[in-house]
Amino acid sequence: MSEINRRSFLEMVGLVGGGAALYQVMTSMGMAQASAPKPLKLEGSGQGKTVLILGAGLAGMASAHELRKAGYDVQILEYNARAGGRCWTLRGGDEYTELGGFKQRCEFAPGLYINPGPWRIPYHHYAYMNYAREFGIKLEVFPQVNYNAYIHRKSGTKVRLREPMADMQGHVSELLAKAAAGGNALGSEVSAQDRERLLEALRGWGFLDKDYRYSKSLATSAVRGYEEDPGARLQPGVPSTPINLQTILSERLWADLTTGMLYEFQSTIFEPVGGMDAMARAFESRVKPMITYRARVTELSQNADGVTAVYEDLAGGGTKTVKADYCICTIPLSILSQVKLNVGQELEQAINKVPYAPSFKAGVQYKRRFWEQDDTIFGGISYTDLPIQTISYPANNYLSNGKGVVLGAYMFGPDAVRFSGMDPKARLQEVVRQNAQIHPQAEKEFDNGISVGWHRVPWTLGCYGLYTEETRKTDYPVLCARHNRLMLAGEHTSYWNGWQEGALLAAITAVEEMHKFAMQS
């Protein structure tokens, strides 16, 4: 149900039935009382039953963690020599070899890092938050919206985010106030009584003066910032000049104002202290004895008695076979579609229908934190229409005199494809060149960097599962269902694609369903 429809429906209920009826309906629609899902508690014991888990990312390890608590005998096969999958952090000393054999060594100073995969945790990602609480993972605030960060255009326009934010709101309010004051323009949309209320709202919400004008003043500067800030004694501040509406529209400055308004990015949004892989390490320390590393799964089949996986032992050599009563498979579909499968035709076909999204990130170490020292930007994100799309500043060690690592590019779409196809050295050069168009200090202060193009990542061949409206209707339910002794789990079996929450929710629901099935059989 769309938001507009939902709201008009509620208005209708409120009019007819009053507040009590409204509350009742809202509760039954699951809106009035949004409550955090509780940690999983399974009734009954899985003792004596075996579960094979494919993949030691968050979905695989969360599954193992929960199943072991319920008494199951669990084994995990993992392609990499480390656990965590896309929950991943690169630090100084780390080496990363992408497909094609291009090898990079991370040269960041001690304590500095980038998260090539997910890097943010919204407060409403309850599954993640529950595990963070259970494991004692420390979170710090991720300043998603920084009003002092830049919105940059390759035309040369560079403004602080607060400026077009205030100005767009102001200009639109002024226009609408003119229309409302004119009477007929809004027709029967607004009653005479509401017209007065609307004008009052526009004045407040749009920072308009008593004549309903949005103009250069100390009042509007209190929102968009000053030419010179207020100070002590005889310094009231010097007002700044609003950006005119035409520029906001032609430069599309409004387009970068809405990201932080989206539910998935709203405050409070977090990051784990010290790197995203804190969650991976916490899970790994609990399930490590169950993991066989460097195991490349080549075959997966099931029959009435159980599941069988064949894997290539990349460490010791040779081919090995594992049998179990049940299987939770978290291998990305981009890989799984290349595994020899005998798990049911419908599922096998659906596995083949999900392409993976391109994405590209580059972490760049600069010799000093010029964004703080010169630009007064502390954390958050600057936006540009250059291919790099954003520059994100570190959300920790503020005011440090040492080096700093920014996320110098976070790209999606065709540009991510293009950059992923470049040599790592050429990518970095281009990223720094584009960083310098927003921060001229970048060329001089550049130290080193590392980049990850997700289609070059050997164990995912892409960033996350992409659905069309059609495949969401046809193939997605098949991928989500239990197929006898096998269930898939990962961000690809969730509506939180590309988020760790999707992986964790998918794991929890897979464990619940598989446990229920095991208790019946």
Partner: protein, 263 residues
């Protein structure tokens, strides 16, 4: 990479023909979206026709006048027989059964799969489609762009350059391919490239984990790439023309829009 700066703009360059076709589709879509609103509220099991959240973020700074590589072919114009041929070509040459790609089967009857008319979303954030059938928080915004083909991202002047930009990230320089937990097939010395429709269909619609590029590459660009792959990497000298590509575009395209955002 001097051209790098020019390629990120996600403005609408769909062309007059496309605009007209899309416009007609939109009229139908808006009509169907507006009509059942009342029922939708009380009956959440919405029909597929109700997917438009009436987003009308009118794009500014966009215009159909800018250069477009192949002259704005309306993707909805390919006939049904061609679409059917596409699917079977992919299946028989690839030997991969039903995975000829998204939309290649031509079974999706609805002409307009996108929602709304977002005028390009440079950050991908402008879309707040709260009821998107593809769903997924990361895909809501992307689907709004669906009706506007974007042939501006890849700027290469010939097949080799376009291959470098669009294909090399996976299939590697010189079409060498790669092997990790999964594999990217080598395109050099690949007997499957003998079938022209197979190569064209792969690029248009993707296969398995590979997203289709039908939304992002024009007929002329695809022809250039196919000729590079077949001629330079496989020594097959017969050439493909943009018109050959056009015929293989699905009748009712459900082109994959690459994701625009993630956690």
């Amino acid at each position: 990479m001097a051209e790098g700066e020019q390629t990120s703009s996600k403005v609408f360059l769909g062309g007059v023909v496309l605009t007209t076709v899309v416009g007609l589709g939109l009229l139908a879509l808006i009509f169907s979206a507006v009509a059942p609103k009342g029922e939708e509220a009380s009956a959440p099991a919405a029909s597929p026709a109700q997917t438009a959240p009436a987003q009308t973020a009118a794009g500014t700074g966009s215009g159909p006048s800018a250069a477009q590589p192949s002259g704005g072919q309306a993707s909805g114009s390919a006939g049904a027989p061609e679409a059917a041929g596409t699917a079977s070509a992919g299946a028989s040459a690839g030997g991969t059964g039903a995975n000829a790609g998204n939309g290649a089967s031509g079974t999706d009857g609805s002409p307009a799969t996108g929602t709304g008319t977002a005028g390009g979303t440079s950050s991908g954030a402008a879309g707040t489609a709260s009821e998107d059938q593809a769903g997924g928080t990361t895909q809501a915004a992307a689907s709004e762009e669906k009706q506007q083909l974007q042939f501006t991202s890849f700027t290469g002047k010939n097949g080799a350059e376009l291959y470098t930009q669009a294909c090399q990230s996976c299939h590697m320089p010189e079409g060498r391919g790669a092997q990790g937990a999964g594999r990217y097939p080598a395109l050099a010395n690949n007997p499957r490239t003998a079938s022209t429709p197979y190569v064209v269909t792969m690029i248009l619609n993707g296969n398995g984990g590979m997203p289709g590029f039908g939304h992002y590459l024009s007929d002329a660009q695809i022809a250039e790439i196919v000729n590079y792959v077949r001629d330079d990497l496989n020594k097959q000298t017969d050439q493909v023309a943009p018109a050959d590509v056009q015929k293989l575009r699905p009748q009712n395209p459900d082109y994959m829009i690459f994701g625009e955002s993630a956690g």
